[in-house]
């Protein structure tokens, strides 16, 4: 553990090009992670509101198609598997980053991205299929709440993919710097969090919907 009073000296000797703020990386990371965690918890509340809406109007079909007619559980199981695998792939990103293995981190990041993109593609196909069948968001309260909830989750995954691409670019350009480490850590939280939300989505929307 370095004492605070000998840090400036250490800095002027070893890394004069770095601003003094870099010294507080550990503290900055700690605070950033907590702040990001608070954002995630507010996102939990956002999703809770959407889940509550679905719980209330999820069976108001307005004479339109029901979940039992629309949902293909095998397809949803495949989506679930893809998202779970991408979450585990990000676990390998975290492990590789901690071992300071840049190439391995990039490779696993690529695998996570590919699986995430496959999930989004499957969801886009599902939405397109529903709308083409005349089961779009304007058909009934059930479908409005379905598209709002599942669409919000999909939008989050899409945002995560953009973030992942940007972080992969930074990683390839700068290597595993403290900033890249921190961003990978936050992205990991976000990515695993989205998988947690998906557990409730497939249980609450798809599995309960076909019963």
């Amino acid at each position: 553990m370095t004492m605070p009073f000998d840090l400036p000296e250490a800095h002027s000797v070893h890394a004069p090009q770095h601003p003094p703020a870099a010294v507080d990386d550990a503290e900055l990371t700690e605070k950033t992670v907590f702040g990001f965690w608070l954002y995630l918890m507010s996102d939990v509340v956002l999703f809770a509101a959407l889940f509550a809406v679905y719980a209330v109007v999820g069976r108001s079909y307005a004479g339109g198609p029901t979940g039992r007619e629309l949902f293909d559980l095998w397809f949803v199981l495949a989506e679930t598997a893809v998202l779970l695998l991408s979450s585990v792939a990000f676990g390998f990103v975290t492990i590789a980053a901690h071992e300071d293995r840049r190439q391995a981190t990039l490779r696993w990041l690529g695998a996570t991205f590919a699986l995430g993109a496959l999930f989004i593609a499957m969801e886009a196909y599902e939405f397109h299929h529903l709308v083409a069948e005349g089961a779009g968001p304007s058909r009934s309260a059930f479908l409005s709440s379905y598209f709002a909830l599942v669409g919000t989750h999909g939008l989050h995954v899409l945002t995560g993919l953009v973030w992942m691409a940007v972080t992969a670019f930074h990683l390839a350009r700068d290597g595993l710097t403290a900033t890249v480490h921190r961003r990978l850590g936050l992205l990991g939280l976000f990515w695993h969090f989205l998988d947690v939300i998906w557990i409730v989505v497939f249980t609450h929307v798809y599995l309960t919907g076909v019963l």
């Binding site: 679930t80 676990g91 492990i95 300071d100 309960t208």
Partner: protein, 121 residues
């Protein structure tokens, strides 16, 4: 080497064991939930109850093994924030369901007990 830079990051204590355990448990819990619904092994109400219990267990597994939240001192504030969020979620979801279904019950047209006799005004 990465210690100083990564010691405060989520997953600093992560190991292959955590991810393997999380993955294995997720496969079992998800598989069980889908199998129950697909095979109609239980009556409808029991199925709904069991799949929500399975989901709750899987959420805990993910939070522990993938998000690495635990009860250690450095994570105390994360844990408090999480518990508070869960309280809000409980009020939001539970309250919505309670209020809306109660309103639904009270507004059923075939409920004479709810109409007040004119002389009571």
């Amino acid at each position: 080497m990465a210690d100083r830079r990564t010691q405060h990051l989520p997953g600093a204590a992560a190991s292959l064991r955590h991810y393997a355990r999380g993955f294995l448990l997720s496969v079992i819990l998800t598989g069980a939930a889908f199998a129950l619904v697909m095979t109609h092994a239980l009556p409808r109400e029991a199925t709904i109850f069991v799949i929500f219990v399975l989901a709750a267990v899987q959420v805990v597994v993910h939070i522990a093994d993938f998000l690495h939240v635990d009860t250690s001192l450095e994570q105390r504030w994360n844990l408090f924030a999480t518990l508070f969020a869960l309280l809000v979620v409980g009020i939001l979801v539970g309250g919505s369901i309670w209020i809306m279904f109660s309103a639904h019950e009270r507004m059923r047209p075939d409920m004479p007990a709810m109409t007040m006799p004119p002389e009571s005004f």
